[in-house]
């Protein structure tokens, strides 16, 4: 596609950069600079009139919206299209088509995620420069529940700018001032004469007009779409079974590949004992050791490749981790908790004094969670084509076209090929949960593609490779302490968590250069420990990095997924020690946090908190603020005489700021709760002789219809800008369930998973409290 860089985009690389920084600094905030319209100047591309980086129109009125985030089930393509349609003033109907852009433009970057801030909160020249650097890469990724937060303003501005240009084109054609025109339903109207022109008929002309520098946005009172549930644009294709996923990519001449990777991370291929026999199987075209650590089989069909790979007899090198087991890893965590050389993230007030001799009554508790897998429904896969001329193309259900590009370069480099260019096609993903920001499978596919120049190669991991050879959420353990004041509330709170640092592990695998920095003080490790909204007069948060040979990565809600289990279980333990009701106790702690208290009160009302329950049943509550949102949940459980525990229902109240597509937010809360409930009740990876034992859904089970809780969600109205929705729903549910089990049985469970999973027949399971398993 031909593209003209806009003047502002050109400034990025030029000498004018310094001047732009100064101008942004002088303006006091860099906000407008962050959401400007860097990208193509308006132009005609085939039968599309491209008005800006996000909006193109066809003459027949179809509108193509570039949504630079991955659709992984969260409905982001629909939400982003709603923002454009709101300002463009078009109906939300079949005329809209959403694409993930292939070009990686600065304007598509997601600088907010690593900088941990909303675009509108970015202030000052340093933040501006950091954001600019990330944009030039550009860092495009779908992570950290940031998509709506980050694009909430740019997508609307793109729609408003396009509308402005269409109005300008109509004004010129009709010979009237633009101010005399209005728009509605995809038409520009001239009320004085009753004339109207469809957008499609104006689209080509509109490319001749300059985009306005700062188009005005509609006030909330004038919104037609934002805040009103719209049907997901991607669902008709998905219920028809259309091939929208990376695993479904089919190209002329496509080759298929399967892989076997080292059971022990860090081990290399020592010897391939039966290479000749495997090569001789029907349909096998190639056998290759990838990066020393895996063996791939290339064939004319994936079935042929996978069955051949299953026959591979590979000897792996010995490693220092060959004797690691769940027990040794757990011991390392516990040792780290006993070691006082922790990294201090936060200290407020006189924490140590509060725990000194003769101090107030203390509550102390230790908690643990195991390693877990992402288990995305669509197994890891990537398709790469490297042509004879060195140009490369990749198709992947990826959370980041940037890491895709790096992956292609890395994998091709293993084969001694340096791609001249890489075009990245981000497909829809069959679940992602953080797993698909990794570049591993793309690099492997690129290596194979470099050996088969001119033929696209699709590599797909088996489910067994996915569960046991992938990237995991770290295990973690925490020691929490509170000194209770005369009112029974914590006068001091002290949290220490031990886990394997995420950022350094992920960065060391992904970044093209360097080792990813220091693992000490990892920000993901302490997410959910601070509890800033609770009025603790003194608090301290510390962490210890505990290395292991396993690769750990981001996993839907990261540190919150364990720390909120720890902290919200602990708050219940404090309430119990103080002889207070868990809801009333939290309300007292939220005296200076009205937003959080409103969410908590709402969920308590939804669940009928305080209403008596039958024997064997219990109710538990938990709260967290995460990703600029606040979520509270009440879980109801039933524990039978034989120890079977069922999560019957989860009530959820959420304040996620301004809501774009309410039903999609509700769906994310539902999905987050079920993801979190499965994890809380049954998910664990165990390690033996350095390798993950679990391999598929029979031993890494997930809840099914029969044991999934019912869910009721309410989204509270809010005037704040949008917060995250994809991850917060996961966060409180484990603690809510643990607290409910305590209410039902008096047993305090401090380790996940909360239950032992018993298989019924071949596929079904039930959950038994520890100590009840047969």
């Amino acid at each position: 596609m031909a593209r003209l860089l806009s003047r502002r985009a050109a400034l990025l690389g030029g000498a004018a950069l310094g001047g732009t920084v100064l101008a942004a600094a002088a303006a006091g905030t860099g906000y407008l600079a962050f959401v400007d319209m860097d990208g193509p100047d308006p132009h005609i591309d085939g039968d599309r009139a491209v008005l800006n980086a996000f909006v193109a129109l066809h003459e027949d009125g179809r509108v193509v919206i570039q949504a630079p985030r991955t659709e992984m089930g969260q409905g982001i393509h629909t939400g982003l299209a709603m923002l454009v349609a709101e300002e463009l003033d078009i109906p939300f109907d079949g005329r809209i088509r959403v694409e993930h852009p292939v070009e990686q433009l600065p304007v598509y970057a997601n600088a907010g995620a690593p900088l941990r801030t909303r675009p509108e909160a970015m202030r000052g020249p340093l933040m501006w420069a950091a954001s600019r650097a990330l944009s030039v890469l550009p860092l495009m990724n779908t992570a950290g529940s940031t998509s709506t937060m980050g694009l909430w303003v740019p997508m609307r501005r793109a729609g408003a700018a396009a509308r402005h240009m269409l109005v300008a084109a109509a004004a010129a054609r009709l010979g009237v001032p633009a101010g005399a025109l209005t728009t509605a339903e995809g038409f520009v109207r001239h009320p004085a004469t009753g004339r109207s022109i469809a957008y499609g008929a104006l689209a080509r002309d509109a490319t001749a007009f300059a985009p306005p520098p700062d188009p005005a946005l509609r006030p909330a009172s004038a919104w037609r779409l934002i805040g009103r549930s719209q049907p997901r644009l991607d669902l008709p294709a998905k219920v028809r079974g259309e091939p929208v996923f990376g695993a479904d990519v089919v190209l002329p001449g496509l080759l298929h590949a399967a892989i076997r990777q080292a059971p022990v991370f860090g081990a290399a291929v020592a010897r391939l004992r039966n290479a000749a026999a495997v090569r001789a199987r029907p349909g096998i075209l190639d056998l290759a050791v990838i990066d020393g650590r895996g063996v791939a089989v290339v064939a004319t069909s994936w079935w042929a490749a996978e069955t051949a790979a299953a026959q591979l007899d590979i000897a792996w090198t010995e490693t220092a981790a060959d004797r690691a087991s769940s027990a040794t890893l757990a011991a390392a965590l516990q040792a780290a908790l006993g070691d006082e050389r922790a990294h201090e993230h936060l200290r407020e007030g006189a924490v140590e004094a509060a725990f000194g001799p003769g101090a107030a009554p203390l509550v102390k508790a230790s908690y643990t969670v195991p390693f877990v897998a992402h288990a995305c429904m669509e197994p890891m896969n990537a398709t790469v084509l490297i042509r004879e001329d060195g140009t490369a193309e990749a198709w992947c259900s990826s959370q980041s076209p940037l890491t895709m590009r790096w992956g292609v370069n890395r994998g091709a480099g293993w084969a001694g090929v340096e791609p001249a260019s890489v075009a990245c096609h981000v497909t829809m993903t069959g679940g992602a949960f953080g797993r698909r920001g990794e570049l591993d499978v793309v690099a492997q596919a690129a290596f194979l593609a470099a050996r088969h120049r001119g033929r696209p190669v699709k590599l797909m991991w088996s489910r067994e490779e996915d569960i046991g050879r992938g990237v995991f959420r770290s295990h973690a353990a925490a020691r929490l302490r509170a000194a209770l004041g005369p009112d029974g509330l914590p006068a001091a709170y002290d949290a220490l968590v031990a886990a394997q640092a995420v950022q350094q592990s992920a960065a060391s695998r992904t970044l093209p250069f360097g080792q990813g920095g220091s693992p000490v003080g990892d920000r993901f490790t302490v997410e959910g420990l601070e509890k800033a909204y609770y009025a603790f007069p003194a608090r301290r948060v510390r962490s210890r990095h505990v290395p292991s040979h396993l690769p750990v990565g981001v996993w839907r809600s990261n540190g919150y997924s364990f720390n909120t289990f720890f902290t919200e279980s602990f708050i219940d333990e404090c309430a119990l020690a103080a002889g207070q009701d868990p809801l009333a106790y939290r309300r007292a702690l939220l005296r200076a946090s009205p937003r959080h208290r409103a969410v908590l009160d709402r969920v308590a009302a939804m669940a009928g908190w305080g209403r008596p329950m039958a024997p064997g049943r219990g109710r538990g509550i938990a709260l967290e603020a995460a990703y600029e949102s606040v979520v509270a949940q009440v879980a109801e459980v039933t524990v039978a005489a034989d120890g079977e525990v069922r999560v019957d229902h989860v009530f959820c109240a959420a304040d996620v700021g301004t809501v774009v597509n309410p039903d999609a937010v509700a769906a994310q809360m539902e999905g987050g709760i079920l993801f979190g409930a499965t994890t809380a009740m049954m998910s664990a990876l165990t390690l033996d002789a350095g390798a993950v034992v679990e391999s598929n859904f029979h031993d890494f089970p997930l809840q099914r219809l029969a044991n999934a809780p019912g869910v009721t969600v309410e989204i509270l109205p809010s005037g704040l800008p949008p917060g995250g929705a994809g991850e917060p729903g996961v966060v409180p549910v484990a603690a809510a369930i643990a607290n409910a089990i305590h209410a039902a049985t008096g047993r305090r469970l401090r380790a996940l998973p909360l239950a032992v999973t018993e298989t019924i027949g071949t596929r079904r399971t039930r959950s038994l409290l520890p100590g009840h398993a047969a």
Binding site: E378, H698, R763
Partner: protein
């Protein structure tokens, strides 16, 4: 050559008799609706109707489908892009998230309604044991009830 009927069309397939039906459909017949999720009859993403029965096609050898009528998610709708009542209910309830598991759920639910036109929650739970990692279960249940109550059903 093995003959079977796929989505109403007779086809002849030149593939090994032990090749799983899933891979015959995906690789030989270009039907990409049935998904590979586990390969061991655990997840249900690959489910198809085999003479009306919902089966995991990842463990169904082609030979077993010889002469049989196979229906994939692509074959559920009526003519001209029409959707079945279940597919429509799936949209009305906005069921799919990522959607990868949904072809298998739609097949399982189709088989359920064929024998139990107005299933209770317990009957739904007893019949369908597919896996959805995104957690669409509450909506799946609602959509099945909606389809069961749709005019012309049951």
């Amino acid at each position: 050559m093995i003959s079977l009927i796929v989505n109403g069309r007779p086809v002849r397939v030149d593939a090994a008799p032990d090749k799983p039906l899933l891979w015959v459909l995906r690789e030989e017949l270009g039907l990409l609706g049935p998904k590979y999720g586990c390969g061991v009859a655990q997840c249900g993403a690959c489910r198809v109707l085999l003479d009306g029965q919902s089966v995991p096609s990842c463990v169904t050898p082609l030979a077993e489908a010889a002469g049989a009528a196979v229906v994939t998610v692509e074959g559920l709708g009526g003519p001209e892009d029409g959707l079945s009542a279940l597919q429509q209910a799936w949209i009305d309830e906005q069921v799919p998230q990522c959607g990868f598991c949904q072809p298998g759920f739609l097949i399982a639910a189709t088989a359920l309604l064929a024998r139990t036109p107005r299933p209770t929650d317990a009957e739904i739970d007893a019949f369908i044991d597919n896996v959805c990692r995104c957690g669409t279960y509450p909506r799946i249940r609602r959509a099945i009830h909606r389809a069961a109550a749709a005019p012309g059903q049951g």
